[in-house]
């Protein structure tokens, strides 16, 4: 809101200045339009590639299944005129959402997804933090190489890398062969098709998303702060928790969001590594869409998933903005 006011007053000032300078009204208008247009482009982008698809999915979630192509009714359109459109709109209902509430399957899937994603995010943080810290403390000449190594896995297909983990984790896989050869275990560990396999898969796949923002904040940090803390009598471990960690919190939050959000809706990893009995919302969604061909329910599942993810982020950002306000 404030921005809008600012631009209009700014525009007026520019207009006045232009009038004083004796410029023609045509050039002023063109300049004003050009500056508006520059602002407009990203908004148009968001409108077409985010808001419109969201609107379509939301509309489908209010429809009913049908054995047709597309597999739902009503298909809104102007084919039967405005009256037809209004008749179609009247058919929309929230029954799919009621269905989601009625069947415990969906609630369980949501809860289990959030729990699995949260645990995986925490594990990724635990693995990623020391990695990012070591990178940030590495000699300057080595850092680009280390950064490259973190990004390197992106050059192979995600799907293939997850498949590769099956070869490692299955009962007669590489891990078990190695552990039995070393003599740590006698019988193969059953890791495949358990939550552990999902955790391993998520930690492995999303580690770069955790490491990169953490590295960015840790690398900027002034190491003399740690020395100052030690100088004032603070042992190294305590200095980490009192100085390094609080100062890296923006990186921690960014990394956790970047891992948590896609992990909640993750489909490939639980499907390939988690076996049939794991319940995650991404799998449920896939089943509704492709096994049941129930597009409306699948859309409702997707909308609720979005709300589950967006609301906490919004609250978080509001809280952060308020905290910053107080600091001023």
């Amino acid at each position: 809101m404030a921005r809008a006011i600012e631009t209009t007053t700014g525009g007026e000032a520019a207009a006045r200045a232009g009038a004083q300078a004796g410029e023609g009204p045509g050039t002023r208008l063109a300049a004003a339009l050009a500056s508006r247009f520059v602002i407009l482009v990203p908004y148009l982008w968001l409108l077409f590639f985010f808001l419109v698809p969201f609107g379509i999915v939301f509309k489908i979630s209010l429809s009913h299944t049908a054995i047709a192509m597309p597999p739902y009714t009503p298909v809104l359109g102007l084919g039967e005129g405005l009256a037809g459109l209004f008749a179609g709109l009247r058919e929309l209902s929230f029954e799919n959402y009621l269905w989601l509430v009625d069947d415990a399957l969906y609630l369980n899937a949501y809860v289990s997804s959030v729990v699995i994603a949260a645990v995986s995010t925490l594990l990724t943080l635990v693995v990623g933090y020391p990695l990012a810290y070591a990178m940030a403390r590495a000699p300057g000449s080595l850092r680009p190489v280390l950064l490259m190594l973190v990004i390197l896995p992106f050059w192979t297909s995600f799907l293939i890398r997850v498949y590769a983990w099956i070869g490692i984790l299955k009962p007669e896989g590489l891990l078990n062969q190695f552990l039995m050869w070393v003599g740590v275990i006698d019988t193969p560990l059953l890791i495949m098709n358990t939550h552990t396999a999902i955790f391993i898969g998520i930690v492995y796949s999303y580690l770069p998303f955790m490491v990169l923002p953490l590295y960015a904040t840790l690398e900027k940090m002034d190491f003399s702060l740690i020395e100052a803390a030690q100088d004032l009598g603070c042992p190294p471990m305590s200095a980490f928790w009192k100085i390094t960690f609080p100062l890296s919190l923006p990186g921690v939050v960014a990394g956790c969001l970047l891992v948590f959000i896609p992990a909640v809706g993750e489909f490939v990893i639980p499907d390939l590594l988690g076996g049939s009995q794991t319940l995650m919302i991404g799998k449920t969604l896939w089943n509704e869409f492709f096994a049941n061909r129930d597009w409306p329910v699948a859309s409702a599942v997707a909308i609720i998933l979005l709300l589950i993810l967006v609301l906490p982020i919004m609250f978080f950002q509001r809280a952060q903005a308020r905290a910053q306000e107080q600091e001023r």
Partner: protein, 379 residues
């Protein structure tokens, strides 16, 4: 309240052979790879002394300080504090505190919390911490800024927070690495005196690193002049200026003219030095310079008189021509070119507003100085 000077005047423990030094660097060497940052350095500093390490950038001053604080370890040699060898004692257990060159204030903590940080580490009871923080804030005149974060303060205020934080624990020794380096000139000069007052008030030993000779001269009881990891001279500011031990020190501190020559005659302390062109300089005290040895005669510009007529009765007189001059308001600096081509700098205080026969470019001029105006350097 007694003035600083009257307290200072009688303070000279370094002249007392019985006094035990408080900090001792004993043959300390520090290498980074094959680069020697500190080279077989020995130095004694006394309790309650305001000691300055002065040297060009990169000569190893910070490294020396960081070894005392425990962030770097000597490659060889020992550092003793109050008789105790500091080797193996981690930084967080050493009774010294450091004020960092970058201040290193904790950006996520308020001014109060920054100052209280060290006290909390010691497990001081809360009411005592609060009292001490208040006291420190008053000391550095930042009472109204207690709740602010470092980024909301000016450079000078940050400097004072860093100072308050480092003295809050009442360390035995306070290490200051270029404490005024980030301040502008006016503020720097004012803060120099504040630091001196603070040191007297708290009765601490201050070890300050600087590359600014004026700063070192103003504040310190004694100065160590460093060059490439070695100490060139340790002395009071006046001694460093008036009796430099070597060409390097004479040249490093203030302005100086260095005239090369050989000792052509010695009688008791007095001597005559003859330059390459045959010009003779009579000096009252030539120290240990042996007859026939090559020496340098160093003399400060303000100890040389410039006149338009040949002065009567001066011990040393040389003729030349005004090569260049600069009027600086409070004084005028003359560059006088002698017969042998050497240019000598001389400065004259403008104690009256008008001069009878002002000297100008290319005028004939005579320089003169007393036999005790300069020093003879053998190194």
């Amino acid at each position: 309240m007694k003035s600083l000077g009257s307290i200072r005047r009688s303070f000279a423990p370094w002249n007392d052979p019985q006094a035990r030094p408080f900090i001792s660097f004993r043959n300390v060497t520090k290498r980074f790879g094959d680069f020697t940052a500190v080279d077989d350095l020995s130095l004694d500093i006394h309790e309650r002394e305001f000691f300055a390490l002065l040297g060009a950038s990169g000569c190893g001053k910070s490294t020396l300080l960081r070894m005392l604080a425990g962030f770097e370890h000597p490659t060889s040699g020992a550092i003793l504090l109050d008789g105790q060898d500091l080797a193996g004692i981690p930084p967080y257990r050493r009774p010294v505190n450091m004020m960092f060159q970058s201040y290193a204030l904790f950006p996520h903590m308020s001014v109060e919390a920054n100052i209280a940080f060290g006290l909390k580490q010691d497990g001081m009871p809360k009411p005592q911490i609060e009292a001490r923080v208040k006291e420190m804030l008053k000391l550095v005149r930042l009472e109204q800024f207690a709740r602010r974060k470092p980024h909301q303060l000016s450079g000078g205020q940050r400097q004072r927070v860093a100072l308050a934080r480092s003295v809050a624990k009442r360390p035995k020794v306070l290490l200051l690495d270029e404490p005024l380096g980030a301040l502008d000139k006016k503020l720097r000069e004012a803060t120099q005196f504040e630091l001196m007052d603070l040191q007297q008030e708290l009765g601490l030993t201050f070890l300050v690193v600087t590359h600014d000779q004026e700063e070192a001269m103003t504040m310190a009881d004694r100065i160590a002049i460093m060059d490439r990891g070695k100490v060139m001279q340790v002395a009071t500011p006046a001694e460093v200026y008036e009796a430099p031990a070597s060409r390097f020190v004479a040249d490093f501190v203030g302005n100086v003219n260095i005239l090369e020559g050989t000792v052509s005659e010695r009688s008791g302390d007095a001597a005559t030095i003859t330059g390459a062109s045959g010009a003779q300089i009579r000096v009252e005290n030539a120290g240990a310079a042996a007859a026939g040895s090559a020496v340098a005669f160093a003399i400060r510009p303000e100890k040389i008189r410039v006149s338009s007529r040949r002065p009567e009765g001066a011990a040393n007189v040389m003729e030349g021509e005004i090569w260049d001059l600069a009027y600086l308001g409070d004084m005028t600096v003359y560059h006088v070119r002698l017969a042998d081509g050497q240019v000598v700098k001389a400065s004259a205080l403008n104690s009256s507003r008008t001069v009878d026969d002002p000297l100008s470019w290319e005028d004939r001029a005579w320089i003169s100085f007393a036999p005790d105006a300069g020093v003879v350097l053998t190194r």
